[in-house]
Structures are given as structure tokens and as C-alpha cells.
């Protein structure tokens, strides 16, 4: 017998749950000026998340998918992207989207049932939230191919969940991207749950990162609640993709501290005590503890940040609630670049039958 291949999957953590370094840190993690913006983004994401759930509970927002406990993944990855790169998100990625310049008002509009929430004023080439599981990985591979063909130094960065790695789309996209050596980075937010199905029932594979091996690309596992590890891995993968090194897969281990969405009640299928235990590992306190150790953070700054985040979120909520619903003609707008004549009569009917405007939200 001859061994013709050997594979290994590395796991990386820099900060332990108490925020203490477990090994020499990368340079950026020694500089509070680089870390504080990441901390602010995580706190803003959590503030937004909390508010969005409250809006849903009071009938002012539709179903919302919380990112509670997974903020370090979106923030850490998006912070490693260039403005010219393209984000291809799933539906739990507002941490990354906000970093990219999607506004909170846009996000609320989307979850509030208004397509205009996906017409981002900021990152014009970023994809909208993708709901059909893992399909977005194919789109990201195609986007990466477009960048490669035009010889643009841009990277497509795609998110999916642990459940999504069971889909053929995920494997097919990794395979296409790898064959093309396309500038693609795929990030698995392994939050341990696909609605009610735990990670152990999702795959018999020891890691999800090892799914990269069959595609012939690098895969690694990081502590997804350690933003230093996430950001470090994302920087390496994005730089590699940008310089022609092809795709990478990052499995970020985290835990879904909230329900799947506001339409879900996770207490039906998992022990609240276990969830409580996972609060020990959550990412926001971890980074704060580390910043405190660096003497770069204190209760006064924390208080000010919380106030600023609340003000920003409240302003976004006001903008959202003050946005009147679109007219029924919007159903026909942008269906095609030019509405075919065959649809004019239906549009006219929708406009004619429309109730008088002025209802608004809630």
C-alpha cells in the first residue's frame, strides 16, 4: 500500500473565552486602533439584532433571523474585505452587511417586507440576502469567475451555515471555484444548529472544513467567537484569493444563542441550560475583556458606545417606520428591464384595485 495523500485540518484560536491570548497574536491584534472598530461593529450588530427582535414582537417587523452570538464571524470577515470585493450573504449575515455599508434602515426594510431594502445605496455590487440554502455559493463562484476573466483584483466572499454544507450547491460551487482557481472565499458559520437539527445530525464528517479537501482547496477551522482568529483567517484567505491562489473554505465554530428566526421557538428542541452554558463563549465579552487587558477600554467608553449604538439603531428604526410602503406598481417594476406589453393590463389592474395609501407600518 502506498499513501498518496495526507490531509489535515488546522483549528485556530488566539483569544480564549476570557479574552486571554493563547498564543502569539497577529500584528493587527496588538493594535487597539484596529480592534476597537471591530468591537464597535459587534456591539452595533447586537444592538440592532435586539431591536429587530423587539420590533418583530410588537408587530412592526416581519420574520427576522438573529445573529446573536455569531457577530464575530460577519464582522471579522467583512473587515478583511476591500470595498471592491463582493459579499454574497445568507440570511443571518447582517453583521457583515452592516460592515459593508448596508444601512440598518435598509436591513429593516428588507425584513419588514420591502424589496427596496435590497437596493443597497452603499455596496452596489453586493448580493442581496439569499434564502434558498447554499444556492448563493454558486453565485459567488460565478461572480469570482467574472472578476478573474476581467483580471480584476476582486474577491467574492460568501457565507452559509452548517446546514448549508449538506447541499449539493455547496459542493458544486466549491468544485467549480477550485477548478477555475477563482478568487472565492467561502465562510461556514457553524452555529451548531440548522433550525432544530444539530450539527451531529447534519454530517458525519469530523469537521465541515474538511469538505474543502475533496474540492482540492484549503479548508481551516477557527474559533468563530474569537474575532482575532476569524479576522486573521479571513485576511489570509482573501489575500490568497486576490493574488491568484484560488478559493478557501473557513469553518467558523460558533453557537446560535437565539432562535433560528423569530418564527422559531428553540426551547422545543434544545435544553435552555445548554444554551446558557454557551454564553460563556460568546464573542463580544471576549473581545471586550481583551481590550480591557490592553487598557484600551473602560466602563465610560462602553457606556458611550452603547449610547451611540442605541441612537444609531433608533434613528434607523425611525427611518424605516417613516418609509411608506411601495405602490402596487412596484410588483411590476424591475420584473424585466422593460415591462413586456403582455403585462401592462395586469399592472393597470393592480394600480386600479390598490387601496388608498397611508397605512404605513404597524
Amino acid at each position: 500500500m502506498t499513501i498518496i495523500g495526507r490531509f489535515q485540518i488546522d483549528y485556530t484560536r488566539f483569544l480564549d473565552p476570557r479574552g486571554e491570548a493563547t498564543q502569539p497574536l497577529p500584528d493587527f491584534a496588538l493594535d487597539p486602533e484596529k480592534l476597537i472598530p471591530l468591537y464597535r461593529a459587534m456591539v452595533l450588530t447586537r444592538t440592532f439584532d435586539t431591536k429587530a427582535i423587539a420590533l418583530q414582537r410588537t408587530g412592526k417587523l416581519g420574520t427576522f433571523a438573529s445573529a446573536l452570538g455569531q457577530e464575530a464571524i460577519g464582522v471579522g470577515v467583512a473587515a478583511a474585505m476591500g470595498a471592491e470585493d463582493v459579499l454574497v450573504p445568507s440570511y443571518r449575515d447582517h453583521a457583515a452587511q452592516l460592515m459593508r455599508g448596508v444601512t440598518m434602515a435598509e436591513s429593516l426594510l428588507y425584513w419588514g417586507g420591502d424589496e427596496r431594502g435590497s437596493d443597497f445605496a452603499g455596496p452596489r455590487d453586493d448580493f442581496p440576502i439569499c434564502v434558498p440554502i447554499a444556492t448563493q455559493v454558486c453565485h459567488a463562484a460565478g461572480a469570482a469567475y467574472a472578476f478573474q476573466l476581467r483580471q480584476e483584483a476582486r474577491v467574492a466572499v460568501c457565507f452559509l451555515g452548517d446546514g448549508g454544507t449538506s447541499k449539493g450547491d455547496f459542493y458544486e460551487a466549491l468544485n467549480f471555484g477550485a477548478v477555475w482557481k477563482a478568487p472565492l472565499v467561502v465562510v461556514v458559520n457553524n452555529n451548531q444548529w440548522a433550525i432544530s437539527v444539530p450539527r451531529s445530525m447534519q454530517s458525519a464528517a469530523q469537521t465541515l472544513a474538511q469538505k474543502a479537501i475533496a474540492a482540492g482547496i484549503e479548508g481551516c477551522q477557527v474559533d468563530g467567537n474569537d474575532i482575532v482568529a476569524v479576522h486573521h483567517a479571513a485576511r489570509q484567505a482573501i489575500e490568497k484569493a486576490r493574488s491568484g491562489g484560488g478559493p478557501s473554505l473557513i469553518e467558523a465554530l460558533s453557537y446560535r444563542l437565539g432562535d433560528h428566526t423569530t418564527a422559531d421557538d428553540a426551547s422545543r428542541y434544545r435544553d435552555p441550560e445548554v444554551v446558557q452554558e454557551h454564553w460563556t463563549f460568546e464573542p463580544v465579552v471576549r473581545l471586550r475583556n481583551y481590550l480591557v487587558q490592553l487598557n484600551a477600554w473602560d466602563p465610560q467608553r462602553e457606556e458611550q458606545l452603547v449610547r451611540e449604538c442605541n441612537e444609531a439603531v433608533n434613528a434607523a428604526v425611525e427611518t424605516y417606520l417613516a418609509t411608506p410602503p411601495p405602490t402596487p406598481g412596484a410588483m411590476f417594476d424591475h420584473l424585466y428591464r422593460t415591462l413586456p406589453a403582455a403585462l401592462h393590463e395586469q399592472r393597470d389592474m393592480a394600480l386600479r384595485l390598490a387601496p388608498q395609501q397611508g397605512g404605513g407600518h404597524g
Binding site: E115, P132, T135, A140, L149, N175, D333, H334, R337, A342
Partner: protein
């Protein structure tokens, strides 16, 4: 002007657009050095390079899915699905994404792709190679669905499909690929994607068809002419969006309509045309609308496929039925 069969006309149209627009890329299985299993892309990789004529791994879902990503980022992908029965894995991407990316983003992103696929029975192909899925796609908002019935229309409609800013499902009847040749000027002139083509004028009955069945329909019109029955023949060509005006105008003159398609009857696109005629043209009708279609069966393997395909005789008989008592 060259005499081309339908597959050569497709090849010429692809080459024309590849030369004209650097954003056009082709992707699919075996489309490179092999030139595609039907030779639609013969010689194109040699001429335009492997970066623009992309031999993909064997996965239809990702062919459609990556084409969407390419299209959203400014390319004009023309994806080939190798055989008609292999188009079904693309539904998720076509329906959930390609057809609605523009709508979902309020026009910020769009999806100007063409999904080419052979379609139809009649060439003694293996299982799952003889499908007629046009009605499945025509049901989806945001798509265009096009089926050519001659080399010249294949050329002009494919140019239009590639230039269209929205996703187009372009179904090519394999039975016609090499059935006959026609003068086709490789002049880059596109045909409109929103009109039916009236192939033959007549005053007694309107025959409406598309794809390969246009030929049996025209033969039936010849037979009927010998019987003194003048049939108008309309090639729908673009099923979605449907140019119902041309059909209504014709039926308004003839008072009779027979719709001919190869796909199964129930929920077939003929039902859509018949319903429109009932809604908007009922009082011009002198007889009930007739449909001549494939049976509501699985399209059979080679030994029975010509028993499945609507025959000239069935079309003629349906016309006679509309003339009963006239």
C-alpha cells in the same frame, strides 16, 4: 449568404456575439474542444479561448448558479444544458434567482443570461433526452422563453436572447438541428423577442404552434390546402412574454383555432393560449378551440416516440373538427 441547418445557425449566432461583445462567455459540459455534443459550439473555443468557452465540471445546478453570479457581475453568460432532461436541476437557480434578481434588488443587479438547452423528441435519443419543458418555464415570472423553428429564426432569436437584459430560456428542438438547411445571412440582425411569426396566411383556420411541431403543422396546412381549406400558420417562437395580439387578430379573421404542441397536454402552454382565446376572442370563434398535443404520458423511448408526437393526420383531423357543421 450561407445555407445553414439550425445547429449551424446557433453556432454562427454564438460566434457573432462572442466577437461583438467581450462580456459574452459560454459555459457548459463538453462545449470546448468537443464543440458540444450537438456541435453547437464547434470551433468556438479554438477561436475565442478556453476562458470564454468554459468546459465546466459535470453539474447542471452549478452551471446555472455560476452563470447567475457571472451575469450579476456584468458578464453575458450563455450556458448550455447538454440534454433536455438535465435541465430540471437548474430550476432552483432559474426560478429562485435568475428570474427575480432584478426585481429583488429593484434593478440594482440583473441577470442577463441565456440558458440554452435542446428539447423535444424524435431523434431516437436515450431516456431523459426528449423533454419539452417550455410550459414549466413559461409559468415563471421574470423569464423569457424562446423556441426557434427554423435556422434563420434560431439565428435571429438567439442574437436577441443574448442581447436581452434579462434571463432567457432558449429551447432548441433537436429534431430540427439537422432536418433542413436555409439561407441565413450572418448579418447580426436580431429578431424581436415579443412577437409571433405568421408563416402562412389563410382565411379558414388558425394553426398555432412552436418548435419542431411547426413543421408537422405546415405540412398539415399543405394537406388542408389541397382540400380547399386555407390555414394560417403562426409560429409563437417566444412563449413568454406571449404576443397574444397576433393570435387574436388571426383567429378574429378565421374564427377557428387549432393549437399544436409536443409537450404533454395538461397544463401545457396550449391551455394558456386557449384560455386567452376564451377570455378575449370567444365571440369571434365559430368552433371550439382544439388542442393537438403530446399525451399526458411520459415521453416514450425511441420505439414509440412517433406514436407520441402529434402527427400531421391528428392536426388535419382537429381542423376538420373545427369545420364540422360549417
Amino acid at each position: 449568404m450561407a445555407e445553414l441547418n439550425l445547429i449551424e445557425a446557433i453556432n454562427h449566432a454564438l460566434a457573432h456575439e462572442l466577437a461583438r461583445d467581450p462580456a459574452v462567455v459560454l459555459l457548459g459540459e463538453d462545449i470546448g474542444i468537443n464543440g458540444g455534443v450537438f456541435r453547437a459550439t464547434a470551433g468556438l473555443q479554438q477561436r475565442f479561448g478556453a476562458a470564454r468557452i468554459v468546459d465546466t465540471p459535470l453539474a447542471e445546478t452549478a452551471i446555472a448558479g455560476t452563470a447567475i453570479g457571472m451575469a450579476a457581475m456584468g458578464l453575458k453568460p450563455v450556458a448550455e444544458i447538454q440534454f433536455s432532461g438535465f435541465i430540471y436541476p437548474t430550476f432552483d437557480h432559474v426560478i429562485n434567482h435568475a428570474s427575480r434578481l432584478r426585481h429583488r434588488t429593484r434593478g440594482r443587479l440583473s441577470c442577463p443570461l441565456v440558458l440554452r438547452s435542446p428539447c423535444g423528441a424524435g431523434i431516437h435519443a436515450p431516456e431523459h433526452h426528449s423533454e419539452s419543458p417550455e410550459a414549466l418555464f413559461a409559468h415563471v415570472p421574470g423569464l423569457r422563453v424562446v423556441i426557434p423553428s427554423s435556422p434563420s429564426r434560431a439565428y435571429g432569436l438567439l442574437l436577441a436572447a443574448i442581447r436581452d437584459p434579462d434571463p432567457v430560456i432558449f429551447l432548441e428542438p433537436t429534431r430540427l438541428y439537422r432536418l433542413f438547411k436555409q439561407e441565413v445571412a450572418d448579418d447580426g440582425e436580431a429578431l424581436p423577442l415579443d412577437v409571433c411569426f405568421t408563416l402562412r396566411s389563410g382565411s379558414d383556420v388558425t394553426l398555432v404552434s412552436w418548435g419542431a411541431m411547426v413543421h408537422e403543422t405546415q405540412t398539415a396546412a399543405d394537406t388542408l390546402a389541397q382540400q380547399g381549406i386555407m390555414a394560417e400558420v403562426i409560429d409563437v417562437a417566444t412563449l413568454k412574454p406571449l404576443d397574444m395580439g397576433t393570435i387574436l387578430e388571426s383567429v378574429g379573421r378565421t374564427g377557428r383555432c387549432v393549437i399544436v404542441h409536443e409537450a404533454a397536454r395538461t397544463g401545457g402552454f396550449g391551455a394558456e393560449i386557449a384560455a386567452n382565446l376564451a377570455e378575449e376572442g370567444l365571440y369571434t370563434l365559430l368552433a371550439p378551440v382544439q388542442r393537438v398535443t403530446g399525451y399526458d404520458t411520459v415521453v416514450p423511448l425511441a420505439r414509440l416516440e412517433y406514436q407520441y408526437l402529434p402527427s400531421v393526420e391528428r392536426i388535419v383531423a382537429a381542423v376538420h373538427k373545427t369545420l364540422e357543421g360549417a
